[in-house]
């Protein structure tokens, strides 16, 4: 029997997801026995033209990590969609936009100006900024253009499954790969991770009182979390109540609160708003002023509540006066 063909591809990625595959693939011989890797840009030499030559559906599954920010990436993922029976969004960036998705809170112009014109060490009296096309002593050079915003994979192509996490722990990767190999697949659109919130499996759950109230949020900058106590009960914002479990409580084990890389629990329209609603209702404030103070104690709600999911949030990005982002 022919081995199933598997493709890996990466878009705007930090390489951490690739590292997980490398960690997984330290048992590489087992993987190679079971599947036939037909595309893996970091490790194997296949080109766009090879992919174009595949028959639609010929490749069983494509694992794609990283957010989408360039038209070339769009071209690749659309082609992979056409040729692969299944597409799996691998990791928070592909699933939700991820940390690079925070760029949707700013603009391309700002990014360029801060990097090449305003940085404290930049010496650039002529105001040179990188150009898509440039000529140096007659040699023509090209750079890719960036989209105005960062997108999650399913904003660009249809996605069958999601593997959450930044990066996904390799146990969940193994589960997914096995499910695919054994053809024991959950319904299309599933996130391959538990349905329950992280809190339910969190070792600190017992110290979280049912009638939890929060007076004010503490900053990790100036306070130290108790090594045993539920972070919320201790006054630190923890995304556990609104985040899917299954990561192995990795940050909690490092004595740090969850930032939500596994994304929201099922049926949540907007992860950040759900969390906002959940914690705000727990506030101890009972006057308008106290409510305001309580709200202000949560510095940077956008960057905290949407640390990994800004591009897929209901509001998607910061509104800026038109003309600012061309």
């Amino acid at each position: 029997m022919a081995k199933p063909k598997v493709a890996f591809y990466w878009c705007a990625s930090c390489g951490g997801c690739e590292e997980t595959i490398v960690d997984l693939a330290e048992d590489i011989l087992k993987v190679v026995e079971a599947v036939d890797i037909v595309l893996w840009p970091v490790a194997l030499d296949f080109k766009l033209k090879d992919v174009k030559a595949w028959k639609p559906g010929e490749v069983a599954v494509a694992f794609i990590n990283g957010a989408v920010r360039l038209s070339e990436q769009e071209e690749w993922v659309k082609l992979l969609r056409e040729k692969c029976s299944l597409v799996v969004a691998f990791g928070s960036c592909a699933h939700l936009g991820g940390i690079p998705g925070l760029a949707n809170a700013t603009t391309r112009d700002e990014i360029i100006a801060n990097k090449y014109l305003r940085a404290p060490t930049v010496n650039n009296p002529e105001g040179t900024v990188p150009q898509e096309k440039s000529k140096v002593n007659g040699f023509e050079l090209e750079l890719p253009n960036f989209w105005k915003d960062v997108k999650a994979l399913d904003e660009v192509i249809d996605v069958d499954y999601y593997l959450p996490g930044c990066p996904p722990p390799f146990e969940t990767v193994a589960t997914a790969v096995n499910a695919i190999l054994e053809n024991k697949l959950p319904p299309k659109g599933s996130v391959i991770a538990p349905e329950k919130a992280l809190c339910e499996t969190c070792p600190r759950n017992e110290s979280k009182p049912d009638d939890l109230t929060i007076t004010s949020f503490k900053r990790l900058a100036t306070s130290t979390p108790d090594p045993e106590k539920c972070f919320l009960a201790d006054g630190f914002l923890c995304m556990g109540p609104a985040t899917r479990g299954g990561c192995g409580e990795r940050c909690i084990n490092g004595n740090m609160p969850c930032r939500g890389c596994f994304g929201p629990t099922p049926d949540v329209l907007d992860a950040g708003l759900k969390m906002l609603s959940a914690v705000a209702s727990r506030g101890a404030a009972d006057t308008e002023q106290a409510s305001q103070d309580f709200a202000d104690s949560l510095v940077d709600p956008l960057g905290t509540l949407y640390r990994f999911s800004l591009p897929v949030s209901m509001l998607r990005r910061r509104l800026v006066p038109t003309g600012d982002n061309q």
């Binding site: 769009e74 809170a105 603009t107 989209w147 105005k148 915003d149 997108k151 904003e155 660009v156 329209l269 907007d270 950040g272 708003l273 759900k274 906002l276 609603s277 705000a280 209702s281 506030g283 404030a285 009972d286 308008e288 409510s291 305001q292 309580f294 709200a295 202000d296 949560l298 940077d300 709600p301 956008l302 960057g303 509540l305 209901m314 509001l315 998607r316 990005r317 910061r318 509104l319 800026v320 038109t322 982002n325």
Partner: protein
């Protein structure tokens, strides 16, 4: 930009026990106030999930009014306190999304305060006229790459 012709669209989430009745009273007493508000009756201001507010803004509202019973008078005792706590946090968040805090308003209006309801709507409409249209859908698509 403020526009003389611009008539803001306001979605009002009104608690059925007090504010909605207050609005009714304003109507039946033929008080004068702008017709910009589309009222949605909710069980309690505490039931207004921030998601509703954001959805309204996203779907074309220029402003959102949340109105509930005065503190202490909530039919479910605590509901309006929940609303009170969520409200400033939601405004802080919307501000980071580039949506002015003047577009969302929380007011306590009892069943007998028809006049107050009319005042709130009048004032809020003026405020939104000054802020101009939100046009979230159009503005955002100009800032995103089409696919």
């Amino acid at each position: 930009m403020a526009n003389e012709q611009f008539e803001p669209r306001i979605v009002g989430f009104l608690c059925r026990w007090c504010s909605y009745t207050g609005a009714d009273l304003a109507g039946t007493s033929r008080m004068q106030y702008p017709a910009n508000l589309a009222a949605i009756r909710v069980m309690c201001s505490g039931r207004v999930d921030p998601t509703f507010v954001v959805k309204a803004l996203k779907d074309g509202a220029d402003g959102v009014l949340i109105a509930g019973c005065h503190p202490g008078d909530c039919h479910y005792s605590e509901g309006n306190y929940k609303a009170m706590r969520r409200y400033p946090m939601l405004l802080n968040l919307l501000d980071q999304f580039g949506i002015e805090c003047g577009r969302v308003r929380l007011e306590w209006i009892s069943a007998s305060e028809g006049e107050r309801f009319a005042e709130v709507v009048t004032e809020f409409t003026e405020q939104l006229k000054a802020l101009g249209p939100l046009n979230w859908q159009e503005s955002i698509s100009a800032l995103c790459t089409g696919t």
